[in-house]
């Protein structure tokens, strides 16, 4: 029979959310349906008569919505290839492609549904016990079980989405936008507090939106109008508080944004969850909570069925019956589990509509294949036993109002203990931390006016307790009987397909502690996290163990409250990148950039295909004429003050007390264990003024170390990290002096006036500069430091001036070759976290300094001796090129490793640095390196440097 669009839609006036003037279409399982703007997937499917949304986890039974509050696995669907979207929360957009989950074949005919026939042979925990023997069996079964397990499929082809994070701040955060939450927010704001209200529903009001109370609509209107008039309230609808952490730090997800909310106080007004009645086949589509039926009718204008039975254990069920009747649903009967329910206006009203009421009765069984078609009733005997099933009532809708569980997940996350109250069959929170309050239904207060008062009180006082002690406020007593059936399928946990027997069997198997019971049976471990199963599981466990419910305890609530997408957790990635002030020039010159710590540096200039040629040309330019490299990433530190020389003398392995002004020294820093932590050049600009360079990645740690030590020494020095303030260029090559002379007229560059390791201050191309005559690459060279804002200006002028000499920029790769030819080490490459100065050939004869950081450890190393030494080595030019970290092999055993290696045109061989055993460190000795092919390459220890052994070129 062809279904009509909107077959179950009520007249327009009945819905609060949907806009009948804006129709839209979407597809479910590939078939097109109509909806209205504001419809969720669940409401639109219900309006079109679709009640099966998915298949259950274990038995693949057809399932529809139960709560219409987004709390169960049954309503998780895939939307536009995003899995596990709650059908009750996703507001439809034109063209949405909605797919059901967890079935094989089709949603209507699931091949795996036959598993249900074998349910008797698949008891709880069966796979723990069945698939681990014989040895190796798990490997065989695992793929089948993995295929059956899980919910939804991740689409690996889906593109990246834009997610981000934001901070929020509030004096008072109110979680929940129902009667209590709205009242709390208003009361808090009226006393001048900055308030943030978090509500996970698309519209504010909570139960005011749908509960059967004539005053509710006016109350809601009044509360919201008062709230929105307050300028100090921020309202977050459709937002969910996923975690309440220490010091009232809350994680709130709204759409694709994770808010990190810091609140002075928190009011938890999160309401209560209806609980399912437990009877055979209670999971059939069409069996829903009473509140779900009311939501469907009043929020979305959808009739939930045509002929209903209401199963209740409280007066709320009568309100549901009246609302169903109002929506033109035939109410066949109200089945009340209570023996003698007290008189009430609601009962009278139901009776007045000639609706049949049966007291002391339960539903013992429902029947139907893909939707409930009938229920069978059973009477409760005076002693509480349940009779055999009797009368059958045909219906396509069963509304359960079996009781409530206050939503205390956030309170429990905050550290509250949940205590079972036998009078109400509900938990209350005990021992709340300071500055957290609970209000409304979450506080077991269900009557609307009381809930509003409770909310206002929570916001305005430090009551820090719960309302369970206020007996007059409690209007929902007792628990609905659990009705076992000899044929089973009385579901306690819909997410995990757990029945009464599963819980009872778990206890009988020895997993009787609530924590063990949870893990063994998996009760409460599905997406609903026990919101609809915890209470009944506790009641069954108590019955099985012969204890009272309060003696069973509860499981531990942990964040997140519900599922959070990885996108929301990741948010927008913030990964700072540092660029030198010549970055644009490098790109324009075709540089291949590479990361160096957070910096970007040119590796070489040219295409990747021509990298080797480009690097060789850059090396040749420096050796033959001139080159310039951007060394702005070097760490730079100003040390100033009367104690500057003494300070540096203590900080560094090298000596600086007698260092002359205008002179630079290579310096090595060690830590208290004698390990080399950094190196650089220390320039004395004046008596009390040193300019220190440090490695690109080490400068932050160096500065921290300096602050640490001087906090103890209290020397009169100022330490300033000026790394970013200064750009730096190393101009190197035999023509570098001539090039520099064209741009600098206030510094005498003559060799005698400005010798190797000299430091001068002057101007280059009108820019003030500190010029260091240093030779990292082994040629005449100048390291020029100047204001970073002038980077492009100085770079351009140097290139212009050097054009006649064929100057070219060189990158990190060429510099590595050049410095290796000179035998200069790179910290972190040629050293590691254990290298001490003795291992790199420094300080072997002792130090004249009485103290420096690491001196004592280094003296101990001298006495004990070293286990390895860094040496230069050469290999035949035709040999396989060893790589960094290739192993040094001595007599078949690992004896060290290569730290640097390259083909050198200057040395006409392969050259490198490697750690070897000290007895193999003398020039001329040989050792083997296991190269990439696995073959051993013979290496010979060589004197350093490989190039210009007399250092004549850098002293030109």
């Amino acid at each position: 029979m062809k279904r009509l669009d909107h077959e179950f839609r009520l007249p327009a006036a009945s819905s609060q959310i949907v806009n009948r003037g804006k129709p839209l279409s979407f597809t479910f399982e590939g078939r097109s349906y109509e909806a209205f703007a504001g419809d969720t997937i669940a409401s639109a499917l219900a309006a079109n008569g679709i009640t099966t949304f998915s298949r259950s986890f274990k038995y693949h039974r057809p399932r529809g919505f139960v709560s219409l509050a987004g709390c169960e696995a049954n309503t998780l669907v895939s939307v536009n290839r995003v899995p596990n979207v709650a059908a009750e929360w996703h507001v439809l957009a034109e063209g949405d492609d909605v797919r059901a989950q967890n079935y094989s074949g089709s949603l209507a005919f699931d091949w795996n549904a036959s598993i249900g026939l074998f349910g008797r042979f698949l008891p709880v925990g069966f796979y723990y016990r069945a698939f681990f023997r014989p040895k190796g069996a798990w490997r065989f079964w695992e793929p089948f079980i993995r295929r059956m397990a899980g919910l939804g499929k991740v689409d690996l082809e889906v593109g990246h989405g834009y997610f981000d994070k934001a901070y929020l701040f509030a004096d008072i955060a109110v979680i929940g936008g129902g009667a209590a939450g709205l009242s709390a927010a208003i009361a808090a704001a009226q006393t001048g507090n900055r308030v943030v209200l978090i509500d996970d529903h698309p519209v504010l009001g909570g139960a005011l939106n749908y509960t059967h109370d004539n005053r509710a609509a006016d109350m809601r209107r009044d509360l919201i109008s008062r709230l929105v008039s307050l300028p100090n309230v921020r309202i977050f609808s459709g937002a969910r508080c996923e975690g309440l952490y220490s010091d009232n730090w809350l994680a709130v997800v709204q759409g694709r944004r994770l808010h990190k909310l810091r609140a002075g106080r928190v009011v938890i007004a999160t309401g209560a969850f209806e609980q399912p009645a437990v009877f055979r086949n209670n999971d059939l589509p069409g069996i829903i909570f009473g509140s779900a039926a009311q939501r469907l009718i009043k929020l979305y204008g959808v009739r939930p069925g045509t002929r209903a039975v209401v199963f209740t254990a409280n007066d709320f069920g009568y309100g549901v019956a009246l609302d169903l009747a109002e929506a033109d649903v035939e109410v066949a009967a109200v089945i009340d589990a209570r023996t003698s329910p007290p008189a009430s206006t609601l009962r009278s009203a139901v009776a007045g509509k000639n609706i049949r009421i049966e007291n002391s009765t339960v539903i013992s069984e429902a029947s139907g294949r893909k939707r409930v078609r009938a229920v069978r009733l059973a009477a409760i005997r005076p002693g509480g036993e349940i009779d055999k099933a009797g009368e059958t009532i045909e219906c396509d809708l069963v509304c359960m109002s079996a009781g409530f569980a206050p939503n205390l997940a956030l309170a429990a996350q905050a550290g509250a203990r949940l205590v079972y109250d036998a009078r109400t069959a509900m938990h209350v929170a005990d021992g709340l931390p300071e500055n957290i309050e609970i209000a409304g239904a979450a506080n077991c207060i269900f009557e609307l006016e009381n809930a509003m008062r409770d909310g206002a009180k929570a916001a305005s006082t430090q009551k820090n307790g719960n309302g369970a002690g206020e007996a007059s406020a409690i209007t929902v007593p007792g628990a609905c009987p659990i009705v076992p059936h000899r044929d089973g399928k009385e579901f306690v946990d819909f997410d995990e397909d757990l029945t009464i027997n599963d819980i009872v069997d778990s206890v009988a198997s020895g997993f009787d502690d609530i924590q063990l019971l949870k893990r063994y049976s998996t009760a409460g471990m599905g997406p609903s996290q026990g919101r609809h199963s915890s209470i009944n599981t506790i009641r069954l466990a108590a019955r099985a163990r012969g204890l009272a419910e309060q003696e069973i305890g509860t499981t531990t609530a942990r964040p997140p409250y519900s599922g959070i997408s990885f996108g929301a957790l990741a948010g927008r990635g913030f990964e700072p990148v540092r660029r030198t002030s010549m970055h644009r020039r490098h790109l324009e010159a075709g540089a291949k950039m590479m990361p160096a710590a957070l910096w970007m540096r040119p590796a070489y200039y040219g295409s990747a295909a021509g990298a080797a040629t480009a690097i060789a040309a850059e090396v040749a330019a420096v050796r033959g004429s001139a080159g310039l490299i951007d060394v702005s990433t070097l760490g730079k530190i100003e040390i100033r003050g009367p104690g500057a020389a003494e300070f540096l003398n203590r900080m560094y392995f090298t000596g600086h007390l007698k260092q002359q002004s205008g002179r630079a020294r290579y310096a090595v820093m060690t830590d208290a264990t004698g390990t080399i932590t950094d190196d650089g050049v220390i320039c004395r600009l004046a008596d009390g003024h040193f300019f220190v360079t440090a490695t690109t990645s080490g400068v932050e740690a160096v500065v921290r170390s300096m602050y640490f030590w001087n906090a103890q020494w209290r020397l009169d020095v100022d330490i300033a990290n000026v790394t970013s303030a200064y750009a730096a260029i190393n101009l190197a090559g035999p023509h570098s002096r001539a090039i520099l002379a064209m741009l600098c007229d206030d510094v005498d560059l003559a060799p005698d006036a400005f010798p190797y390791m000299g430091v001068k201050c002057g101007h280059i191309a009108d820019v003030p500069a500190r010029i260091l005559r240093v030779g990292f690459v082994g040629e005449l060279g100048y390291e020029i430091h100047f204001a970073s804002g002038c980077g492009e200006h100085v770079w351009d002028r140097l290139l212009e001036a050097g054009a006649r000499y064929g100057i070219r920029p060189f990158g990190v790769e060429a510099q590595r070759v050049l410095r290796l030819e000179k035998g200069h080490i790179i910290l972190g490459q040629d050293t590691d976290g254990l290298t001490n100065p003795l291992e790199i050939g420094m300080g072997t004869s002792g130090s004249s300094k009485p103290f420096f950081v690491g001196a004592a450890a280094l003296n101990a190393f001298r006495e004990r001796g070293i286990d390895r030494k860094l040496v230069g080595f050469v290999c035949d030019a035709g040999a396989e090129l060893p790589q960094e970290c290739h192993l040094v092999i001595d007599n078949g055993k690992i004896a060290g490793r290569v730290t640097s290696c390259a083909r050198s045109s200057a040395a006409k061989s392969i050259i490198g640095l490697a750690y070897v055993r000290p007895h193999k460190a003398e020039p001329g000795q040989t050792f083997s390196i296991r190269a990439g092919s696995g073959r051993l390459v013979t290496a010979t220890v060589a004197e350093l440097p490989f190039y210009d052994p007399e250092n004549e070129r850098q002293r030109l």
């Binding site: 701040f169 913030f574 660029r579 100003e638 970013s724 204001a787 970073s788 002038c790």
Partner: protein, 208 residues
């Protein structure tokens, strides 16, 4: 200081070419305007000698008569920003004559080059910055003259609430080497609020 014509902001000019005429939230690059840093136990005496009113406690900024700002970062450190949009500062000459070596426990720090300077201005500036910064910068909590030394988009930064009574205006100062990164992050954050880059001249002038 190097001549201004030798300087260039680290933020790509391509961004400024796309500046909107009058966005609801404005982000401007002030990196080429003068600013100075000063450290040491003698800085307050030195500033007093220059006739500059200094903030009474840390993390407070005071505005000088010419519109420039003195921000007290710690008991021994201050940051001085020139006025904007005009880039004036009564302390400029004094700083130019201050020895790099320091004198009387007063050490200059090259903030002009160590830190880029952005100004974010507009009604929703606090909300936009809440996407990048964990400090509560709401107008009623972070008063004019407040200074936060914090993290913005995971970058160490100084945030100063500028004296612009008719608007909400923040100065953001962070590592100059990450200027482009910071600019991109802030532009991304303000797009939601109809924000865009603008020129310095488009910022609200001081009321005095």
């Amino acid at each position: 200081m190097p001549p201004i014509e030798t300087r260039r902001s680290a933020i790509d000019a391509g961004q400024t070419a796309q500046h909107a005429a009058d966005p609801a939230l404005k982000l401007a690059d002030l990196s080429l305007l003068p600013r100075w840093g000063i450290k040491g136990s003698g800085i307050w005496t030195w500033l007093d000698k220059q006739g500059a009113a200094t903030p009474a406690r840390d993390n407070i900024a005071s505005t000088l008569p010419d519109g420039s700002t003195v921000a007290r970062l710690s008991p021994g450190e201050a940051l001085i920003l020139s006025s904007f949009p005009r880039g004036e500062a009564m302390l400029a000459a004094a700083f130019d004559s201050l020895s790099a070596e320091g004198q009387d426990a007063c050490y200059p720090v090259p903030r002009q080059d160590s830190h880029c300077w952005l100004v974010l201005e507009g009604h929703n500036a606090s909300l936009a910055l809440a996407k990048l910064c964990g400090v509560d910068l709401a107008a009623d909590r972070f008063a004019i003259g407040s200074v936060a030394q914090t993290s913005v988009a995971r970058l160490s930064a100084i945030v100063i609430r500028n004296e612009r009574p008719k608007n909400i205006s923040f100065s953001l100062l962070a590592d100059s080497a990450s200027a482009q990164y910071l600019w991109d992050c802030v532009i991304d954050a303000i797009t939601e609020f109809s924000g865009a880059g603008c020129t310095i001249e488009a910022l609200q002038p001081p009321s005095r």
